[in-house]
């Protein structure tokens, strides 16, 4: 008896043929195919809106004289952070980008980041509020976020193509998926960490659930939520570079070109451009968060 059991076990472990392979990939593909077919009108509408918004923004940013933009960002960095050094860094860095001939690519990347962040925040903050207010929503959303954040970023590029085709919209879609989790998590965290005694006090004065959210929780969660938005921007920036592989142009596109042609110099130049944009965005946003918190 024991012997036969052991044989069955070794058969199962040793010979994969004994246990059929689970076609997980096939199922997911089928599911995505199904969604692609049935969500076509929605994806097309999304595509149209995003594309036109993106083009408009990009054209607008591109139409601004670089000198004006550089001066404005420098001033903003200085005024917001009250650090003259950062203002100087922003001016010098962006001037370098312009000098390297990467201005248009930078504006294109910025437009992608802005649009992706906007979408991620528009979806992420309400979802964050829902997860904070309902334990059930939380128990559904949080595992999904764990998966979203551990899944290698490249994988998102693949389903983006059947939905939106190669190009900028697919890049925005993949970026939104990749960059949204912090907006959700930080919103949820910010609301949940509102001190219990303040919530109790609000209750004692007969505050309704919606009033509690608007008058107490969101104002107190705002600094944390802004930290989340900052994270979202940073993730969007990093994803926009990866998304160059499916047709997003911009700085990422320059890097991708350089990889394909093994042009080390051009690759690093574009890379440095991304670093400069990232530092400017991050520092400015961080201080906006502190201002709101103070």
């Amino acid at each position: 008896m024991e012997v036969t059991n052991m044989t069955a076990l070794t058969n199962m472990l040793g010979m994969p043929g004994a246990f059929p392979r689970i076609p997980l990939g096939q199922w997911l593909e089928a599911a995505i195919d199904f969604l692609v077919t049935h969500l076509a009108p929605a994806t097309r509408a999304f595509s149209a809106v995003t594309e036109s918004g993106l083009n408009l923004l990009e054209a607008g940013l591109d139409a601004l004289p670089p000198l004006l933009v550089i001066a404005f960002v420098g001033l903003a960095a200085w005024r917001v952070t009250r650090k003259r050094g950062l203002g100087a860094f922003a001016v010098a860095g962006l001037a370098l980008v312009w000098n390297m001939g990467l201005w248009q690519a930078t504006m294109s990347t910025l437009a992608l980041v802005l649009v992706a962040t906007l979408l991620a925040v528009l979806v992420g903050i309400p979802l964050g509020i829902a997860t904070a207010m309902s334990d059930r929503a939380r128990s559904v959303v949080m595992p999904v976020l764990d998966v979203m954040q551990t899944m290698p970023a490249f994988v998102y590029l693949i389903p983006a193509i059947p939905f939106f085709g190669l190009g900028k919209v697919a890049a925005v879609f993949a970026t939104v998926i990749f960059a949204m989790p912090p907006a959700i998590r930080f919103t949820c965290l910010g609301i949940r960490q509102v001190p219990a005694e303040l919530v109790e006090c609000a209750e004692a004065f007969g505050t309704g659930r919606f009033q509690r959210l608007v008058k107490l929780e969101l104002p107190l969660a705002a600094p944390t939520m802004l930290a989340g938005v900052n994270q979202t921007v940073m993730l969007a920036l990093s994803m926009v570079v990866i998304a160059a592989m499916i047709g997003a142009r911009g700085l990422g596109g320059e890097v991708w070109k350089a990889i394909q042609r093994l042009e080390m110099g051009n690759g690093f130049e574009a890379g440095i451009g991304i670093v400069i944009v990232a530092i400017c965005l991050d520092r400015i946003l961080q201080h906006v968060g502190k201002r709101v918190g103070g």
Partner: protein, 397 residues
């Protein structure tokens, strides 16, 4: 009908309180109930009334259930059993909407750690309750500013709570509750987080406010001195149950059991007793224009006393005569008490604490006169009476 009627109010913490509730009804002790059911009894069949305009202090050590009890009144904590009636309406059965309306209109609450909203200014904190009720901005700002002025914070409207000291923060907390003009103030250890001097100021402030506003106040405290000072009545709790309900005097002079007795043992009796509580009615007095020296002397002889206080026709205390003085003057043919009486007498008000009486009485050859706020004789204190009162209360405690 009492303003608040609390009947068999019980709170059991845990997911399935039925079994524990049955044990509570059987009168099983808290420890046993916890051992058998793993459910903690927060409040155990509390029953008492709070009258309109009265300050009731709910007192007990930490863990005695007093904070839970007060939260059951406005259902911040959902009672497991029993009823709470406010003006005859049972709070425990109200719908969510009615409960919210009740909290907005009837209750003002003040918290131990202030619970001020840090993102709002002092004025915005004070107007919070009115804002939630939906009262128009101009009106609620005005009421909030009035409430702040009432607690002495005029001029601080634009400050943030974080900029204020603890005492001032709790004034904001008080103003936030008062701005609503609620019938009932719930004060949960409202002054416990303040240092002793500030705490005493706030207690005085509350008593002063209470003279103006006459709210029904349920005040939670673990500090007996505080309870004795501000409470019209005191509810003593232990292990979730009400052990004794009574005036401060009752609690001090006739503690219901050993627990209460131990609680009051540390109280400085001489500080709690006042002239008004120690004095006795004067058995005999002389009235100017009515009683002559001869009548006065007879009254003294009848009551076996050597001195007599002299009042005017409005019962105002004007002087004192001794038997010796009268005997002396009658020999000289004097017929008017006014010419005989001494007017340089020592008097105290009914509010004077007993501790101040002891030095006053020392060396005083006659009883001490206690007068009310209009100068009328309220009673007298003889030395034996004072010491007897102190000894008796001290012995009981």
């Amino acid at each position: 009908m009492a303003k608040i009627e609390i009947r068999d109010l019980t709170k059991i913490f845990g997911p399935a309180p039925e079994k524990a509730l049955n044990m509570v009804r059987e009168g099983k002790p808290k420890d046993e109930i916890y051992k058998r059911t793993r459910h903690a009894v927060g409040v155990n069949r509390a029953t008492f009334d709070v009258d309109e305009g009265e300050v009731v202090v709910v007192m007990g050590l930490s863990g005695s259930g007093k904070s839970t009890l007060v939260r059951c009144l406005n259902r911040l904590i959902e009672p497991t059993d029993g009823t709470v009636r406010i003006d005859g309406t049972d709070v425990t059965t109200l719908s969510v909407k009615d409960l919210r309306a009740l909290r907005q209109r009837t209750f003002g609450m003040v918290f131990q750690n202030f619970a001020l909203f840090p993102h709002r200014t002092v004025l915005e904190n004070a107007e919070y309750g009115l804002e939630v009720m939906g009262s128009p901005k101009a009106a609620r700002r005005e009421k909030a500013a009035q409430a702040l002025a009432r607690v002495g914070l005029a001029g601080w409207e634009a400050a943030r709570p974080g900029q204020l000291s603890g005492g001032m923060q709790q004034r904001v907390g008080l103003a936030r509750a008062l701005a609503l003009d609620p019938d009932i103030l719930l004060m949960d250890e409202a002054f416990s987080a303040l240092d002793p001097l500030i705490r005493r100021d706030m207690q005085d402030e509350l008593l002063r406010l209470q003279d103006d506003v006459r709210k029904t106040i349920v005040f939670i405290s673990h500090d007996l001195d505080e309870a004795l000072k501000i409470g019209d009545r005191i509810v003593l709790m232990r292990d979730g149950a009400v052990v004794q309900v009574g005036t401060p005097e009752d609690i001090l002079t006739s503690p219901a059991d050993d627990y209460v007795a131990r609680f009051v043992a540390d109280v400085d009796i001489a500080r709690v007793l006042t002239a008004g509580t120690v004095m006795k009615r004067s058995e005999a007095v002389a009235v100017l224009g009515v009683d002559g020296p001869r009548t006065a002397l007879r009254k003294m002889r009848n009551h076996a006393i050597a001195t007599l206080f002299v009042l005017d026709r409005n019962h105002k205390l004007v002087g004192l005569v001794t038997a010796d003085d009268i005997a002396e003057h009658m020999a000289g043919g004097e017929r008017d008490l006014a010419a005989i009486m001494r007017t340089d007498i020592t008097t105290v008000s009914t509010e004077a604490p007993a501790s101040e009486l002891i030095p006053l009485m020392a060396g005083l050859p006659h009883p001490l006169a206690v007068t009310d706020e209009r100068g009328r004789l309220a009673g007298v204190i003889v030395r034996g009476l004072l010491l007897g009162a102190l000894a008796e209360r001290g012995g009981n405690a």
